[in-house]
Structure formats: C-alpha cells, structure tokens
C-alpha cells in the first residue's frame, strides 16, 4: 500500500509542498544556526586548532582559556624539554598589541610569537609571501581577514591588485613589515592575527615573561596524555593536548557567555517552526484524508498498514524536506564563504546528523498526532455524506 500512500501524499500538491517547505525551513534554520553556532564557538579556540604541528600545550595552571595567559619563566622551556617522553618543546607567545598604521589609525592586534629557529605554530597556508621571510628583521605575517581589517579600503580591489607586501606599520613603537598574508581560522574577536618571531613578539608586547606557552610534542609511541601528566608533575604547569585545551576554552566560552542561550533560542525556534508547520500541515493533511483512510479501513486495510502508510508519508516529507533544507544550508555557507567575516563557517556534519534527528522527531511527532486520529476513527464516518 506504500505507493497508495505516496500517491495520496503527492496528490495534494499544495499540502505536499507546504509540508516539504515546512520541514525544509526547519531543517535549514536548524542546520544553519547549529553550524553557525558551532563555528562561532569554535572560533574562540581557533588559534589552538591552527597550531597543527605541536599537539601539546603547556601553560600556567591558573589559565581559564586561550586569551588569558600569564607568562612563564624562560627556564620552564628547558624543564619541559627535560621531561621524559617529550620529543621537543619550543616557546610560543600570544599577546595583544596596538598597531599604529601609516595613516595614523590604530588597530588592536593579536601577536603570535613563533620560536625563532623552528617557527612551530606557523600558519599552514600562505596566500602571499613566503613563510621563510619571517626570518627577516621586523617581519610579520598577517592573516587574510586581518589584512582586510587593517586596510579596509583595499579589501575591494584585493582580487585585482593582490596584497601589498613589505608595507610597514608600528606596534609599540617598533616597526613591523608585512612579508606575507596567510589563511587562519577567524578569531572570536575579529582582530588581525600577526605571526612573528618569538624574539620580536616580546618587543611588540612588552611583558615581564614573553613566553606564555610551551608547545611540545610527545616522542613517537608515547601516549600524549601520559606525557602531559608527566609534564604537569615535573613542572607544576598545566599541560593539555590540543583537544583538551580546545574543549577547555570552548567550555569556558559556553559557560560564561550568553551565546549558547541566544543560539539555543534560535535553534529551538527552528525546531518549533518545523513542528508547527510540518506537524500542523501533516495533521491537516491526515484529517482531510480521514474519509479516504476510513474507506480503506472499511475495505479491510488493517490499522497497522494505515499507520505504516502515514509513517511512509511522513518519511517522504521528512526526507525530502531534510535534503532540501540541508542543501539550502550548504548553499548558504558556500555563498557566504567568500565573505571574509563569515569565512570558516560551514555546514557541520554534526549539525546534519543532529538536524536529521530533529526532523525525524518532528515527523514522528506529526505522525503520532495524526495517527491517533486515525486509530480512534470510527469507520462509520465514511457513510456520512
């Protein structure tokens, strides 16, 4: 009887497309919002994710998240190196500075100091210039979004004219020369990211202890978490794997900002709209077809089959709506991916899975409500004109 169910469903075009639209809308809204939410929250830890070449972060034990980093004494570096199981360790600096542009404007910037010799933590993808140029005096590499933020008047003509390298500005009265532009995950606060050598970063952001992180890697075959534990034991500092530090920062942002609530409301709204539109329309559809279902029941179609038919209809609507919804969502992110301040946000796999669950819930709910009408339906209704 499945084909009968589908023909019944498709027979009423208005409701059919209404249903699909409702589910699509809900799926679109939820998947898009969930993805944006995940993307935005992940931004709070994007500098952690961007360090691809060192999986262990050592920092002050009182730290709560990435942007709150007291300095470490210089000898901590050698102490971490001395811990058994540590393959290598290098210093890393993350601080904030105030950049003074040639035209007199000021910009807050995030300064990342990479170990002079190894450049551990360097950006992976360069859009212009060479990473090796970072060894030049006063050299900095800036991220794409930061470049556009620093020189917004050039953002429009970038595609045509490209990045202007070797331009200078000042941080903390020191000269900085842009030798490259890289791609980096957007930071939570949209500040430009400046990569520079460690020795130079301490001049840009004069702090008592310039090194606020030690980046390390475990020897091959060593368990990273075990090495972290050993580092903590030996140095008294907090040592976390990339994942752990990432989640620590994420949890801090989730717990201490209103972002989850805001997004939660929107996502719940999407769900409710989905339930309302899809559930309501589906219910109406079933109610309108009560007579036909009644006829089928009178003609000897069992209740289980009737329920199966309704479920199938729900499934078709749900699947089509879900597909279109996530497709729209993907389209949205594909279109916005070229916009700098939205870059890095994309449809998340977890959002797709979660939204599939939510759509299934919507469909089940709608089916459940409608099926109740069918099961208590007195077949005698079919006789009444």
């Amino acid at each position: 009887m499945g084909w009968v169910a589908i023909k019944m469903l498709a027979g009423d075009r208005t409701k059919f497309f209404g249903l699909i639209f409702g589910v699509s809308f809900a799926a679109f809204m939820m998947s898009q919002q969930v993805s944006v939410f995940i993307g935005i929250v992940r931004r709070s830890a994007s500098q952690i994710v961007d360090v691809r070449d060192a999986p262990i972060w050592v920092m002050d034990s009182r730290i709560r998240h990435l942007d709150e980093v007291p300095g470490l004494p210089a000898t901590d570096l050698t102490r971490v190196r001395s811990v058994p199981g540590v393959d290598w360790a290098v210093p890393f600096h993350k601080g904030q500075g105030l950049a003074k542009l040639a035209n007199g404007e000021s910009r807050s910037v995030v300064v990342m100091g990479l170990d002079d010799a190894t450049l551990v933590g360097a950006p992976v993808e360069m859009l212009a210039g060479e990473l090796a140029d970072l060894h030049k005096p006063d050299a900095v590499i800036i991220d794409k979004a930061g470049y556009e933020y620093m020189w917004p008047s050039e953002a429009k003509s970038l595609a045509r004219e490209g990045y202007r390298l070797n331009r200078t500005f000042e941080i903390n009265d020191r000269r900085a020369i842009v030798v490259g532009v890289c791609r980096a995950s957007s930071p939570f606060v949209t500040l430009p990211l400046l990569y520079t050598r460690f020795s130079q970063s301490s001049r840009y952001t004069p702090e008592r202890n310039a090194m606020n992180f030690v980046l390390a890697r475990a020897k091959p075959g060593e368990n990273e978490q075990e090495v972290c534990r050993r580092i903590q034991e030996a140095t008294g500092r907090l040592a976390l794997t990339r994942e752990q530090f990432f989640w620590k920062t994420i949890h801090y942002f989730l717990a201490s900002t209103g972002i989850p609530v805001n997004f939660g409301i929107t996502i719940a709204l999407g769900f409710l709209v989905g339930v309302a539109i899809a559930g309501q329309t589906f219910y109406l559809f079933v109610v309108e077809n009560l007579k036909q279902f009644g006829s089928l029941k009178a003609m000897g179609v069992r209740d289980s089959k009737i329920v199966g038919m309704v479920l199938l209809q729900g499934l078709v609507v749900g699947f089509a709506g879900y597909c279109i919804g996530v497709g729209l969502s993907a389209g949205f992110f594909t279109m916005t991916n070229t916009m700098t301040h939205l870059a890095g946000l994309y449809l998340r796999g977890e959002a797709m899975v979660g939204v599939a669950g939510a759509v299934a819930a919507i469909i089940l709910f709608a089916t459940f409500v409608s099926v109740r009408r069918l099961l208590v339906l007195e077949p005698a209704i079919v006789f009444r004109g």
């Binding site: 009644g294 209740d303 005698a380 006789f383």
Partner: protein, 246 residues
Amino acid sequence: MLTFAQEAASYETLDSNATAVICCGVTKEFGRGDGKSIALRGVDLDVAAGEMTLLVGPSGCGKTTLISIVAGLLDPTEGEIHVLGQDLRVLKGHKLVDFRGANLGFVFQQYNLLPALSAVENAAIPLIALGIKRREAIERAGELLNAVGLGSKLKAMPSQLSGGQQQRVAIARALGHEPKLLVCDEPTAALDAESGRVAMELLRKVAVQPGRAVIVVTHDNRIFDYGQTIVHMSDGRVVEVERGNA
C-alpha cells in the same frame, strides 16, 4: 486469494438464497446521560443472499447506523448480529478488518474514491488489501472496469470522471474481490436520475449474484423497483418489510 476462495467455498455449501445477515434485537445508543440518543431500538432483520435488499426510511431513522453495524464498522449496544454465519461480536481488531476485507464490499454515497489514484488503481485497492500483487490487482481491476463500461477510462483520475462514472468505479471496486455481502449507502443520492438509473442497473446486473446479499440504503423512491426486499425503517425500528418486490 486462496483464503478468499476457501471461504467462498465454505459459504457455497449454504443455500444460495440462505440468510446472509441476521440481526436480532440490535440496539444502538450514542453518548451517555442527558446527551444520550438512541439510534436503533431493537432491530430484528434477516437479509437473504442472492437478492437486493433496500433499506429505506426518512433521514435519521437509523438506516446508516444499521448498515454500519451490519458491516462491522460499529458495535451494537445490545443484540446479536450474524453476518454470513459469523457472529460479529466475537471478531475483534484485525480479524474483523480481515473479515470485512474478504467478505464485504462497499459502495458509498460520495464514492470515496482516492482522488490521487486513477480509476483502475482505485478499483484495485481491495484486491491489494487482500494481498494480491499490484500488477495482477490492476489487471483484474481493469477487467472489472470493462465490465462496468469504463474500459476507456482506466487511467482517468476521479476528478476527470462524472459522478456516475465515479460511482461505477466505486461499484467495480466493491465487487472486485467478489464479496458475499455488498453494502451500498445511498449510491444514487449524489447522482442525476439517469446516472442513478445506470448505477442501479449495474448493481442489479453485476452485483446481485447467487450467494451474495446486496443491501442498499436509500431514500430515493425512484429506485425502489430495483430491490427484491424493501425494509422500511422509522425512528430506529423496522416498521415494514416488503418481500418479493418486482
């Protein structure tokens, strides 16, 4: 199909004009307390197989309630009802549904065709419900539609058919699985005189068979001539039974 054949065979042993439906003191009440209304007040009725029985009476006299009970769609408040030798009170749930599917056919006042299905697909539904494969069911439904004179309209959608044509599709649908009892609820009420006449002719020619009882509920006196037995109802009671009509 096999079960249907077996069951059909079991009824074959009965006299072809044996009693198909026996109602005994059937009472039906709706609601409770002050809102209680009594639809049937102890109906005793026998319906013979092999003929057409008309159930007539004014609106609200309980005709529809009675055939609903006969068709197993409603439980009587009191009284016994035997259909084709089966006590309906002992059949519950899907057994009742299966019994209906195998033995009963329905023709409704509003035809109740599924608007999304073509004529032939509509006619095939009871066969499919019985478990017959879709292609075979549609083939047989096509033959049935031929028999009711709609061989050229197999693929037509209900909305493209006239009322009379729709009712003929409904009749074909009701007869496809060769039910032992055909229940028709005001089959002509929504039709013009000519279409009504064609439908009734069709019922008399195709539906009335030996061993099959046909109950037609109507208040359309133009068709009284088609029934062999006319049962007059009023206020929940059978007031008169005319037998050997026409």
